[in-house]
Amino acid sequence: MTAAPARGHGRIRSPWAPYTTTARYLALFALACLFILPVYALLVTALKLPAEVSVVRMWQWPHELSLDNFRIVWPKLRDGFGNSVAMALPASALSSLLGAANGFVLSKWRFPGADFAFALILFGMFIPYQAVLIPMFQTMSASGLRGGLSGLIMVHVIYGLPITTLIFRSYFAGISDELIEAARVDGAGMLRTFAFVALPIAPPAFAVAMIWQFTSAWNDFLFGVLLTNKDRWPITVALNNIAGSQAVPFNEAMASALLACLPTLAVYVVLGRFFLRGLMAGALKG
C-alpha cells in the first residue's frame, strides 16, 4: 500500500486557482444545502412543540425546542424498535460469520468451480426479491417460521450471504497466500487455518460486513412486512404503519421517521469509513 501522497500540497498553482477554488466551494456548499434540506425539515418539525407544527410552516425555525413529538410517537414505535434490534443484530452477526467462512473458502481454500460457485452466490445479491416472495411466503408459513422474528432473521441471514461472502472474499484475497500456506505447512487443516489464521485478521472485514448487514436489515421493509405479525414488526413496518398509510399529524410522522433512522445514522456517523467500504464492496470491487 503506497501511502497517499499529500495531494495538491506544494503544487504550483495556476493564477486562476483562487477563483476556481472559490467556485468549487460555492458549488459544494450549494449542493450540501440541497442535501441537508429534507433533514432540516425533518429536524425542525420533529423538534417543534406539537401545537406549533403546521405543514405550511414546515421550513420555519421552531420558537421553542421540544421533545414532545418523540414522547408521543415513542410508545408506538418502541416495540418495532426493539424488534428491529433483536432482528438486525443476530442477522448481521450470523450472516457475517457465514460470509467469513464462504469468503475464506472461495479465496483461500478453493475447490474446482469455486469461481462459478461464487458467481452463483453473487447473483443472489441482485435478484429482485419480488421473484422469491411467493415461494418464500409459502415456505415460511408452512414451516411455521412466518410471524415471529426467527424467520425474518433467517431470511436476512440467507439473502445477506452474497454480500458478506463478497466482502470477505475480497478481503481474504488481499491477504498473502503464503500466510495460509504457512499455516498448512505448520500442520493446520482447513478449520484450524480459518480459526487461527484467517479469523484473527478479519475484524476489519467483520466491521464492514456487520455494518452493511445491520443497515440493510434495519432498513428492510419487504421481508418485514411479509414475514412478521404485528407484535413482531420491525421498525420500518411499524413506521409505515403509523406514519405511512393513515393520515397522521405531520409532526408525528417526522418524529417517527427520525427515530426510525437514528441507529443507522449513528452507525454511519461513528463507523462511516467502514460503511463506505461496504458500499464499495457492493460494486464488486475489493
Binding site: P38, N102, F111, I127, P128, P135, G282
Partner: protein, 298 residues
C-alpha cells in the same frame, strides 16, 4: 482423486450450508416462482395446473402493466440512473480537488443512504406535497418564496406522463452520494504519478482528466449503472410508502405486490416477478460474468 477430495473437501463442506441455503432460497424459489407463473393460481388455494404462458400473454395486453408500469419503470430508471450519475459525478469531481473539509462534505453527501427508503419516502412525501395557494408547502413553498413560483410542480401527482420522475428525486437524494463515493474511489485509483507525468507532458488539468483519469473511470461507471439500474427495477418500499395505489407512480414491483397479496392473483404476480427477474438478469448476468472473468485474468 482421493487426495484432491481431501484437499478441497473440507472447504466445500464448510460452505455447503450456505450453498444449500442459497440454492433453495435463491434458485429454488426463483424456479418455484416461475412455476407459479405458469399456473392459474388465484385466491387462497395454490393451483398446480399448467396454463403455459397465459399469464404472460395476459400481461402483454394488461393496460396497467403495459401502459403504466413498463413505461413508468423505464422513465424512472432513466431519470434516476442518469440523474444520480450526473450528480454523483459532479460531486466527485468537485470533491476530488477540494482540500479542506473534504471528509465532512463527503459524509454529508453520503448520509441519506443510511436512511431507509420508508423514512425517505415519508420525508419526501411532505416535501413534494402539491397543495396550492395557502396550503403551499414543501419544495413548492421554497420555490414560491424564492420567487420561482413558475417552477412549482405537482411532483408525483402531476398529470404528466413523467410524474414518476419526481420519485427519482428522493431516490437520487438517497443514492447519488453512493455514486459519488464510487467515482471518488475511481479517481483515487489513478496514481498521482500518472497525472504528474501528463502535466509534465504539458497537459492542462481538463486534459489530464480527459486523457488520464476518464478512461480509468469506465469500470466504475459500469458498476454504478448496473447497481443503480437493478435498484431501480426492484425498489418497492419507496413507492409503496410514497403514495400507494397512485397509478402514475405504479411500477411492476408494486403491481406484483398488490395483485398478489390484495387481489390474490398469485400466478399473475409471479409472472410480473419473473419478468422483473428477466430485466434484472439481463443487466446483472453479463456484469457478474465480466467481473469474475476480469478478476481471473488479473
Amino acid at each position: 482423486m482421493l487426495r484432491r477430495l481431501r484437499a478441497w473437501g473440507p472447504g466445500l463442506l464448510l460452505i455447503s450450508p450456505s450453498l444449500i441455503a442459497l440454492a433453495v432460497f435463491v434458485y429454488g424459489f426463483l424456479g418455484w416462482n416461475i412455476r407459479v407463473s405458469l399456473s392459474s393460481w388465484r385466491g387462497l388455494l395454490p393451483a398446480h395446473d399448467f396454463v403455459g404462458l397465459a399469464n404472460y400473454t395476459a400481461l402483454a395486453s394488461d393496460p396497467r402493466f403495459m401502459q403504466y408500469d413498463v413505461p413508468n419503470i423505464a422513465i424512472f430508471t432513466v431519470v434516476f440512473v442518469a440523474g444520480s450519475l450526473v450528480v454523483g459525478f459532479v460531486l466527485a469531481l468537485l470533491l476530488d480537488r477540494a482540500e479542506f473539509g473534504q471528509h465532512a462534505l463527503r459524509s454529508l453527501y453520503l448520509f441519506p443512504m443510511a436512511i431507509s427508503f420508508i423514512a425517505t419516502a415519508i420525508i419526501w412525501r411532505w416535501l413534494m406535497d402539491n397543495g396550492g395557494g395557502e396550503s403551499t408547502t414543501g419544495l413548492n413553498k421554497l420555490l414560491v418564496d424564492a420567487g420561482l413560483g413558475s417552477l412549482r410542480s405537482d411532483w408525483f401527482k402531476s398529470s404528466s406522463r413523467w410524474a414518476i420522475a419526481a420519485i427519482a428525486l428522493p431516490a437520487g437524494w438517497s443514492l447519488s452520494g453512493y455514486v459519488m463515493s464510487l467515482f471518488l474511489a475511481g479517481m483515487r485509483g489513478v496514481p498521482e504519478e500518472l497525472r504528474e507525468a501528463a502535466r509534465v507532458d504539458g497537459a492542462s488539468e481538463p486534459r489530464v482528466f480527459w486523457h488520464v483519469v476518464r478512461p480509468m473511470l469506465l469500470p466504475v461507471l459500469m458498476s454504478a449503472v448496473v447497481i443503480l439500474a437493478h435498484i431501480s427495477l426492484k425498489t418497492f418500499d419507496l413507492f409503496y410508502a410514497m403514495d400507494q395505489k397512485n397509478i402514475k407512480i405504479d411500477t411492476p414491483a408494486l403491481y406484483m405486490w398488490f395483485t398478489t397479496f390484495d387481489g390474490g392473483f398469485y400466478a399473475r404476480g409471479a409472472a410480473i416477478a419473473a419478468l422483473l427477474l428477466l430485466g434484472v438478469a439481463t443487466v446483472i448476468v453479463p456484469y457478474i460474468w465480466y467481473s469474475v472473468r476480469a478478476e481471473r485474468v488479473k
